[in-house]
Amino acid sequence: MTTDVLRVQDLVVHYHTPLGAVRAADHITFTLRAEERLGLAGESGSGKSTMALAILRMIKPPGRIEAGEVWLEGINVMTLPEEEMRRVRLARIAMIPQGSMNSLNPVMRIKAQIVDALKDHGVRLSARQAEDRVRDLLQSVGLQPQVAEMYPHELSGGMKQRACIAIAISLRPKVIIADEPTSALDVVVQKQVMETLARVQKELEASVILVGHDMGLVAQFVNRLGVMYAGKLVEVSPVRDIFTKPLHPYTQMLIASLPSLEQKGTFRGIPGLAPLLRDLPPGCAFHPRCPQALDRCRTEAPQFKEARPDSWAACHLL
């Protein structure tokens, strides 16, 4: 029985700049099921990081959440007072932000940073309990107990990132949002960190939203994949379907452009450029680059609807 742990409904985020409103996220709608791994893939400027921040209500001015609802286990997070929202963050939804391994406090030992997060959420622990808790957390992310006494600079990139995961799961959240958790890491370490995340997710029976631009990486990890383009969600499907029968032309072309290790072939990029988010073309945002564009695409923005069971896409061709 799959229940929805998180439901995002028509979320709209704009950034107000002197040059106009930048439509970073435009009517995003999707659900996250219990114990599911959902991917949000997209290139730079697609709005995926904005989405992650918006779910946690961490958008700072000049950005603003203009509309939409985010239902977390039955509560609309957008209507909560700020004090309650603070408690929801980390305890119910945790985020591993982009570049977090570089945001660890360089003058605090790892143990202190974890305990800090716990204390901030009103968890009172004796010294002994704190030690045990920290050790358990580190173990669940595959780090030796000695790491608790170390400083961030003494750890490798992969270890730092796993320490960040430990902080994120310290209060056993139900939803973990990981934004480019492995972007600066080597391929081998990347795999280890993702395996750690998978293991942790299973233990906590939590759901994960993985935001990233590396389609291969996201695909290997998630059950369902959402593709974002120019601030819009253009397709959401089970990951196998995305690669075997992609619905949206952007998804199709994106997958075709990825280099394979199986055989040498042609280089197929997507011609043109992604549009500026403050200067979107009318109708479908992808139509200038779409080889299958119809006249309708130039004037009318397509609706995001279910084209196949459990596969959603926004395209007039469907």
Binding site: G216, P259, T266, G269, G272
Partner: protein, 358 residues
């Protein structure tokens, strides 16, 4: 068979000064040679700490080797005269990884194009210079009117990188060193930029040394590959052999860790524990502390290159029955250029690269 660029016993050690006890061997006894008759694309693949960035800087003459030398047309870079250096600077170009850092924010993007034109006297009048620059931009699929006159922050990462490729083309070099040219560019644009690079080799006869951590793009673009691990060569040879049937344990680990965006290829089972850190200056194979097949000899002396197939060499004692190769002879395992008729779309002049304002 004359060589264009050659590195012999190239070694770079950092640290070890009067007050600095810690030394890091960034690159050890590395050799490579690029043929001057046959244009080729050679990939050098390594992760962070493999020494590939150091290698790039040494080959460009931006850093001096601790031991060994880099030769251009037979002349040691460190001993060149001004004129020879000038020729070198003109014949060997670079495309750097970071399309942001390479632009001086004070100037428009024209600056990176006009400087080499004037320094190397590629044009005698301003009008001529403009023509030369516009041609180069069009060759990489950019529209001059949308690119020139802009500041770097007004162009996207992909556009900036293409301007850099255009800059490399301007000088009609004989060799281009591309250091992670597409890693900071969006996935959809990577293919187009790589297609331009490939076209440069096939159409203009420019050789390319493609340095990257991304095996997939290396596989797609090159015919020969060198796998670096912590400053030494682990495996080298024909890219089809090395990628399809890797022999060195590190290469095998690397390939099995790559996440592919396909339904069939999935990540294999759990990886092994976190890598240990070998103390600097230890003799022995650099991969021994992580290697599942390590034996006693591996920890004592670094293995030489064994030529296990006509087009492959592996530095691993698992293959000690094969004949050894001296490091300078590694190039014997390289193959020639693949036939030009192999499907290349996206080259300048075809549909892909000429689309709207890239």
């Amino acid at each position: 068979m004359a060589t264009l660029l050659e590195a012999r016993h190239l070694t770079k050690v950092f640290g070890g000064g009067v007050f600095d006890r810690n030394t890091t061997v960034a690159l050890e006894d590395f050799a490579i040679s690029i043929d001057s008759d046959r244009p080729s694309i050679t990939a050098v693949v390594g992760e962070s700490g493999s020494g590939k960035t150091t290698l790039a800087r040494l080959l460009l003459g931006l850093a001096t080797p601790t031991r060994g030398e880099v030769l251009y047309l037979g002349r040691d870079l460190q001993k060149m005269t001004q004129t020879e250096m000038r020729t070198f600077r003109r014949d060997v170009q670079v495309i750097f990884q970071d399309p942001y850092e390479v632009y001086n924010p004070f100037y428009r993007v024209d600056h990176v194009l006009t400087t080499p034109v004037s320094k190397f006297k590629l044009a005698s009048t301003k009008a001529e210079a403009r023509v030369v620059i516009e041609e180069a931009l069009k060759a990489v699929g950019l529209r001059p009117e949308e690119t020139l006159g802009r500041f770097p922050h007004q162009l996207s990462g992909g556009q900036r990188q293409r301007v850099m490729v255009a800059r490399a083309l301007l000088l009609r070099p004989r060799l281009i060193l591309a250091d992670e040219p597409v890693s900071m560019v969006d996935a959809s644009l990577r293919a187009t930029i790589l297609a331009s690079l490939r076209a440069m080799t096939l159409e203009c006869g420019i050789s390319i040394i493609y340095i990257t951590h991304d095996l997939a793009t290396a596989y797609q673009i090159s015919e020969n590959i060198v796998v670096l691990y912590r400053g030494s060569v682990a495996e080298a040879g024909d890219v089809e052999c090395v990628v399809k049937r890797p022999q060195h344990p590190y290469t095998q680990l690397l390939i099995s860790s790559i996440p592919m965006a396909s339904a069939e290829r999935t990540w294999s089972s759990e990886s092994e524990a976190a890598p240990g850190v070998q103390a600097a200056g230890t003799a022995g194979c650099r991969f021994a502390d992580r290697c599942p097949s390590a034996t006693a000899p591996c920890l004592q002396t670094a293995p030489p290159l064994f030529q296990t197939e006509p087009h492959r060499a592996v530095a691993c004692y698992l293959y000690q029955n094969a004949p050894t190769l001296a490091t300078g002879e590694m190039v014997r395992v390289f193959t020639g250029l693949a036939t030009p008729t192999k499907g290349i779309s996206g080259q300048p002049g075809s549909g892909e690269a000429q689309h709207a304002g890239v």
